[in-house]
């Protein structure tokens, strides 16, 4: 299978005045197409730092990051912006939607920054909204929605440009357990039915069990990297919605 992500001894060192904080301490990692990976680990273990590098929001201090064979650590700011736009979908714990802006406009936003698109494909926007059950809210302002709804808008925005890699940093961190399950069903469907590669950070085992591979970080290093044995049966228990 094709490598989507290839990390070669990646370091991220933050310099705080005199002190250096090593957030990532030589991580090597490959993620293949169609994988659903859960990243876990204690607070401060470097999960968010890893996600930001995978999402081309930040660049490693040392080491190499290849995304679909392209060395992202070598790219210019513009090229990185292009990659973020077309190849990556990012879902944040705090949603990060534009407030006082409608659901529809938030979802369309990545299309506006996509140079290759001259006209917004409204069919696709509506299809995505339908998948995430957002059609009735399309004219609502995002700050008028519940947390679960907001996260679904964020997911819709993340997948509108059909990314190769969907990253989610504690997407259910601000949601209650029922809403969390709903959101996880969406991720599960995106992975199962659309074959989107997903990397998801979580603290909760309940959430992690949706994934098919677990990576545990400790002090900026990979502590363990295990495929899920029980995944198949777990997933079959979860009532995934059908994606048209």
């Amino acid at each position: 299978m094709q490598n989507i992500v290839l990390l070669e001894t990646v370091y991220k060192i933050y310099t705080m005045g005199e002190v250096d904080v090593t957030a990532l301490n030589g991580i090597s990692l490959t993620i293949k197409k169609g994988e659903f990976v859960a990243v876990m680990g204690a607070s401060g273990s470097g999960k968010s730092t890893l996600m930001n590098i995978l999402g081309c929001l930040d660049s490693p201090t040392r080491g190499k990051y290849y995304l679909e064979g392209i060395e992202a650590s070598q790219l210019s700011k513009n090229e990185l912006a292009n990659i973020r736009n077309k190849k990556i979908g990012f879902v944040f714990q705090s949603f990060n939607l534009l407030s006082r802006t409608t659901v529809l406009e938030n979802i369309e936003l990545p299309l506006i920054y996509n140079k290759r698109i001259s006209k917004i494909d409204t069919d696709r926007v509506h299809q995505i909204m339908k998948i995430l059950g957002l059609e009735e809210f399309q004219k609502h302002y995002t700050n008028q929605l519940s947390g679960g709804q907001q996260q679904r808008v964020a997911i819709a925005r993340a997948i509108i440009n059909n990314p190769t890699l969907l990253l989610a940093d504690e997407p259910t961190g601000n949601l209650d357990s029922v809403t969390s399950m709903e959101v996880m069903n969406v991720f599960c469907d995106l992975n199962n039915k659309m074959g989107i590669t997903i990397v998801l950070v979580t603290h909760e085992n309940d959430i992690a069990k949706y994934a098919r591979r677990f990576i545990v970080l400790k002090d900026g290093k990979v502590l363990s990297d295990t495929p899920s044995q029980s995944t198949a049966s777990d997933i079959s228990q979860i009532p995934c919605e059908t994606i048209s």
Partner: protein, 404 residues
């Protein structure tokens, strides 16, 4: 990103903070308005002088009975040095002078029936019409006979005619000045405003002898107006008049002139230079306020980009390039300043119109100055918006996202 969404984003951001946007725009409105109003007032004055110069002719000379070097200390002795005899001598002896007329002026009330009007009465000679290039709408001008017999006749300016007679023809009617009846023998055509904003049609002409004896009881004249045979001959004419008057006034070699001969051209071009300087000066002062307006935009854009760091982070996270962010804020600044520009142009036009209307000061709206002011307001938006926009676009996506 294409143009329409940029504008949509900019307009939305502007509308989100209405009061703040309004105050920012106000700075530009005042700046642009001031530039347009000031320049148009300056231009108006200049054009009036130019018009005046044309109508006066380039060969007109003004002789006044005081030396220019002593003009600040206008003594009583100065006023009696010029007489009608001087004028007659100039006419007879100065070969470079073709026409010359005495002039003496006083303010008085003119009465017709139960109407009265306070105006200037100018005592002039027959040459006055040619020298000053006056036209008559009806009647005739003075002749030598009127002068010799101190005829009780007068010619009315348009303003006086309208105020005393309304629409009817004043010719052959009788008006009273100092309780003495004068027959109206003619009406002058309209000349309009002078460069200093005075109504040139608000006057009554009479034979100078009549004004001297019948109204003022004096023997001197206030001014003499002459025209040289040609525009080129005006310097020659000045010399001839000067030497003749020095001789007639018995001035010794070391004594200064007790009169001045001023060429209308030089006089007008001095005024024109002054009014040009004024235009530049007023325009520059007004430009300062435009720059202050620009600084206001910069200030607001800096606040706005800082406030919206998180938004910038979000946009960058989903693929906005540096350029996209730069243009987003640049568009916002430019939209602000062009709104200010449009409103400022309207404000400037209204301002200069009302200055000329209420202040009876000439103003001339020049389209180039309007275009330049508008153009500059946009440039100011781009110039002062660039730094904040660039600062925003240079943010690191992850730092911007973390900003609270």
């Amino acid at each position: 990103m294409t143009i329409p969404p940029l504008f949509k984003i900019a307009l939305r951001a502007i509308m989100r903070n209405k009061l703040r946007s309004f105050l920012t725009v106000l700075g530009i409105v005042i700046g642009v308005g001031a530039v347009i109003a000031m320049v148009s007032i300056g231009q108006g004055a200049k054009v009036m002088v130019e018009k005046q110069l044309e109508s006066l002719g380039t060969n007109v000379l003004i002789i006044i009975p005081i030396s220019t070097t002593h003009s600040a200390t206008r003594g009583t002795t100065g006023t009696i040095t010029l007489t009608a005899e001087d004028v007659l001598a100039i006419k007879k002896e100065c070969r470079a002078v073709s026409y010359v007329s005495p002039g003496i002026r006083t303010s008085t009330q003119v009465v017709y029936g139960n109407m009265n009007w306070t105006t200037f009465v100018s005592g002039v000679g027959p040459d006055y019409q040619i020298v000053r290039n006056w036209h008559l709408v009806s009647g005739r001008f003075f002749n030598e006979q009127d002068i010799n017999i101190m005829a009780k006749v007068c010619i009315l300016g348009q303003t006086v005619a309208t105020n005393l007679f309304g629409a009817s023809d004043p010719v052959d009617k009788w008006v009273r000045v100092n309780n003495v009846p004068f027959k109206v023998i003619g009406v002058l055509s309209t000349k309009g405003q002078s460069p200093t904003g005075q109504d040139q049609d608000d006057l009554v002409l009479m034979p100078y002898t009549t004004v001297q004896r019948k109204i003022m009881g004096v023997t001197y004249i206030g001014v003499a107006l002459a025209s040289s045979v040609s525009a080129e001959a005006r310097f020659e004419a000045i010399e001839q008049i000067t030497s003749l008057l020095r001789q007639r006034h018995h001035l010794k070699l070391n004594e200064e002139n007790d009169f001045s001969v001023i060429s209308q051209v030089e006089f007008a071009s001095t005024i024109m230079e002054t009014s040009h300087t004024m235009t530049v000066l007023l325009g520059s002062i007004a430009s300062v306020s435009l720059i202050v307006g620009g600084i206001g935009i910069m200030n607001i854009m800096l606040v706005s980009t800082t406030e919206r760091t998180k938004e910038i982070g979000i946009r960058m996270a989903i693929g906005a390039r540096e350029k996209d962010i730069l243009f987003q804020f640049l568009t916002e600044a430019t939209v602000l300043s062009s709104i200010g520009g449009v409103v400022g142009v309207i404000f400037g036009i209204v301002l200069s119109k009302s200055v000329s209307y209420f202040g009876s000061w000439p103003s001339l709206l020049s389209p180039p100055s309007i275009a330049i002011a508008f153009f500059f307001s946009n440039m100011i938006g781009i110039f002062f918006g660039y730094y904040p926009a660039r600062k925003a676009s240079r943010l690191n996506p992850i730092d911007a996202l973390r900003y609270e």
